[in-house]
Amino acid sequence: MTDVSQARKQSSPSASEGFDLAKLLLEGRAFFALIVIIVVFSILSPYYLSVANFLTMASHVAIFGILAVGMLLVILNGGIDLSVGSTLGLAGVVAGFLMQGVTLTWLGIVLYPPVWVVAVIACLLGAAVGLINGVLIARFKVPAFVATLGVMYMARGLALLMTSGLTYNNLGGKPELGNTGFDALGFNRLFGVPTGVVVLAVIALIGSIVLNRTAFGRWLYASGGNERAAELSGVPVKTVQISVYVLSGICAAIAGLILSSQLTSAGPTAGTTYELTAIAAVVIGGAALTGGRGNIRGTLLGAFVIGFLSDGLVIIGISSYWQTVFTGAVIVLAVLLNAVQYRRRSKLSASTGGQPTSQKRGKAETANPAQGKTAR
């Protein structure tokens, strides 16, 4: 009855009292981590803090960043997409294959599609892979982990089959065939900024608008936060679920195009384990693996933290084995802090008005699977 206002009065001071700095550090942790990384490596290496190096590092980040934006959508929905690394590789190989010219033997001609057609076909391929994931998960109720694991193997296998394990090195095209310009996808620079970074910025912007300003974004947050409640509120949860995998597939294909353009070659093993890096970026960015929590800004910061950290370790000459250990440690730390943040939040809500049932069944309570595993 009247206890409501009392409860709120009690809770609000305790939430703000003395925790300000801790709260700020906790919520902005990815941002502070990035600053710490930049400061530390700038001290350790004279080459780190320069525009040229930052642009180079940013072009590395672009690949993970684009994958991570797609992954964020999937994770917001409460799913996971393990197939993005393979999709990236497959899209690159298909693009490389198309750049070599498509021989239509029964017509006796060789087709050389222009680069934009190649890019569109690669993206459609990524969408198709995502559609398979989405349909398996939404319609046939296959757990996302298993469905995308299977598709991950299939896509990788197809890429290897197409090239017999070899790499397409000639992506340049020929002016007389009208298919030049593949290097514009990632190798070239636009006003000094690598194309990949520009593409990442555009995708992040679109993603941010979609998440914050469209009905689809609202549906995504709602169905990731509580699918049953969303469904009963009229949210087309299945459509949303399929869409996020399609979008993730498209992001992977775009990343594949950019990577093969950057490397000026398309290999069937490109992007191996990138899906894990993308997941790590999303997690470092503060998203909850159970869905409903997370945003583009955090995910981008997460991608930059990973990218700037591993490049920094390379620059100061630390062995790649140690790099792996450091990256892993950062991920563990991030998950630990996520658990702290969400536990604090759920405690807060439980103490200010939770019902007996909310403790057992509320999504907030079980917001993070990592919470249970890492809490002790």
């Binding site: 009905a215 990731g224 509580n226 409640a229």
Partner: protein, 513 residues
């Protein structure tokens, strides 16, 4: 407060007592200073409506939760239980209302879960099997200990749950609705077991909605209402009427049916609807049920747990498929439509479990409120923030949600206000028919009254309201018509002037002469 009827029991001294127990969840007081005695070697039954605090009290006595304040006295000594296994080690065990079995394990493994018998090299499966078989024999149930629990029907699962509690040789056994899924013969066997236990000095606490059944077995009756004990008596001194009177009380006025407006045409028509149990038993939880509701009318569906109320409402809303029959909204068949399409046409459901089905805990109050009416503030491809804010503020005002504002997290609200958000979310879609499944569950009396007032107001404006409840008082508040459901069928229909006894009799809860 205690011993209202003045019969302080002389025999069977208290083995376990609750002294002045207070339990608060945030601002909600589930228990307000309760004194409760469990008598040695006797059956003590705790009566009370849903939400009266029975289960909370039992969870405190069995160490599952710690009370906000108050003492627990065991054999004259002050104790506090650190966990349910702590309480179990002191001889107190509980059979929970919700089954807590692992369906993927065998009966034997479930019975010994967490306290497996060991040999020097591993587990003593042979001894476990032998004991499990003996327990099943005691309960006269022909279940092989190696059967997987998921292969048992619900009643048998409940037997396993009971067997598990019996297997620990407790001195005090708490049974929270142990018979809800049992057949009449199984209940008789259980009662035989209970008598056998009490003759051996075991103390039993019994909770049941089947009042008559409970009266058969109990030695003492204690009635709990709104978190406080209202009456205590020995079973031989009381009858059903006494229980009902003390349970229901003459409590808070929840309003009366709105008058002064004429009903419109038939808004919702349910024709011959059947719903089959989802667990695959093939048994109809809703059995060829028909019902018409007119615009402006408030219909209450009363029934015990398992009567099929939830399934009926979910089938109408499109959440679960109908096995037969159809639902018409203003004459249009909506049976084949999706939930979203039904909402768009004006048929909405406020689900029973607001935490699981009603709220998105990761979102704010405002976003929860606007979730079902996103189209209303979409401007082309994008959402209009200003229009959303208007909609949310309007909604908060109309359903009187006490909140710091639309940007507060939903978890910061009390249960009653969370419920108002769920109702407000659906009302914001401007429905023609609103279905509410136990809208008063887990909210305090004040919030309950506000929810009902809100529904009467909307009914006066032409909204058709159907709500389900398991509290008789609520039927007799704002409903124009009371429909009693029993085993998937309508067992009786009453006008607003029905009596509590009539309604409870029709539900199978109590047959008062």
């Amino acid at each position: 407060m205690k011993a209202a009827s003045g019969t302080e029991p002389a025999t069977g001294e208290a083995v376990l007592s609750a002294r002045n127990i207070v339990m608060s969840y945030g601002g909600v007081h589930a228990l307000k200073g309760v004194n409760f005695d469990i008598h040695r070697g006797k059956v003590t039954t705790l009566f009370g409506e849903n939400g009266a605090g029975k289960s909370t009290l039992m969870k405190i006595l069995s160490g599952v939760v710690t009370p906000t304040s108050g003492d627990i006295v065991l054999d004259g000594n002050l104790v506090s239980f650190s966990s349910s296994s702590d309480a179990r080690d002191r001889g107190i065990s509980i059979i929970h209302q919700e089954l807590s079995l692992a369906p993927n394990l065998s009966v034997r493994d479930n019975i010994f879960m967490g306290r497996e018998l060991r040999t020097r090299t591993g587990l003593d499966f042979a001894e476990e099997s032998r004991q499990a078989r003996a327990l099943m024999a005691d309960l006269e149930e022909d279940i092989d200990p190696m059967t997987l629990v998921e292969d048992l029907r619900l009643g048998q699962q409940q037997i396993v749950e009971i067997a598990r509690a019996l297997s620990v040789d407790s001195r005090i056994l708490i049974m929270d609705e142990p018979t809800s899924a049992l057949s009449a013969t199984e209940v008789e066997v259980l009662f035989k077991v209970i008598r056998d236990l009490t003759s051996r000095g075991v103390s039993i606490v019994y909770i049941s909605h089947h009042l008559e059944e409970a009266l058969q077995i109990t030695d003492y009756a204690v009635v709990l209402r709104d978190g406080a004990i209202t009456a205590t008596a020995e079973a031989k001194d009381i009858d059903l009427e006494w229980i009902v009177r003390n349970m229901v009380g003459e409590n808070f006025d929840l309003g009366s049916p709105p008058t002064g407006h004429a009903f419109g045409g038939v808004a919702l028509s349910i024709e011959d609807v059947s719903v089959v149990d989802t667990s695959g038993s093939g048994y109809s939880v809703v059995d060829h049920l028909s019902l018409d509701v007119r615009a402006g009318e408030i219909v209450c569906i009363y029934g015990l747990m398992g009567a099929g109320r939830t399934e009926l409402l979910e089938a109408i809303a499109g959440r679960v498929p109908m096995a037969g029959g159809r639902a018409l909204l203003e004459g249009e068949d909506v049976s084949a439509l999706s939930i979203a399409q039904r909402i768009a046409r004006g048929l909405v459901l406020v689900p029973e479990d607001r935490q699981r089905d009603g709220l998105v805990q990761t979102m704010t109050v405002g976003r929860n409120l606007s979730l079902a009416s996103i189209e209303a503030f979409a401007r082309g491809l994008f959402l209009s923030r200003s229009r959303e804010r208007e909609l949310v503020e309007d909604s908060i005002r109309k359903v009187t949600v006490k909140t710091a504002g639309g940007n507060a997290m939903i978890g910061s609200l009390s249960g009653g206000n969370q419920q108002k958000v769920v109702i407000g979310k659906m009302l914001t879609t401007n429905p023609k028919v609103i279905l509410l499944d136990e809208p008063s569950r887990g909210i305090d009396v004040g919030a309950k009254a506000e929810v009902f007032r809100l529904l009467s107001e909307r009914a006066a404006q032409g909204l058709a309201v159907v709500f389900s409840t398991s509290e008789v008082n609520e039927c007799l508040s704002i409903a124009h018509r009371i429909v009693v459901m029993r085993r998937g069928r309508i067992s009786a229909e009453f006008g607003a002037n029905a009596t509590k006894e009539q309604i409870m009799a029709a539900s199978g809860e109590a047959v008062v002469a």
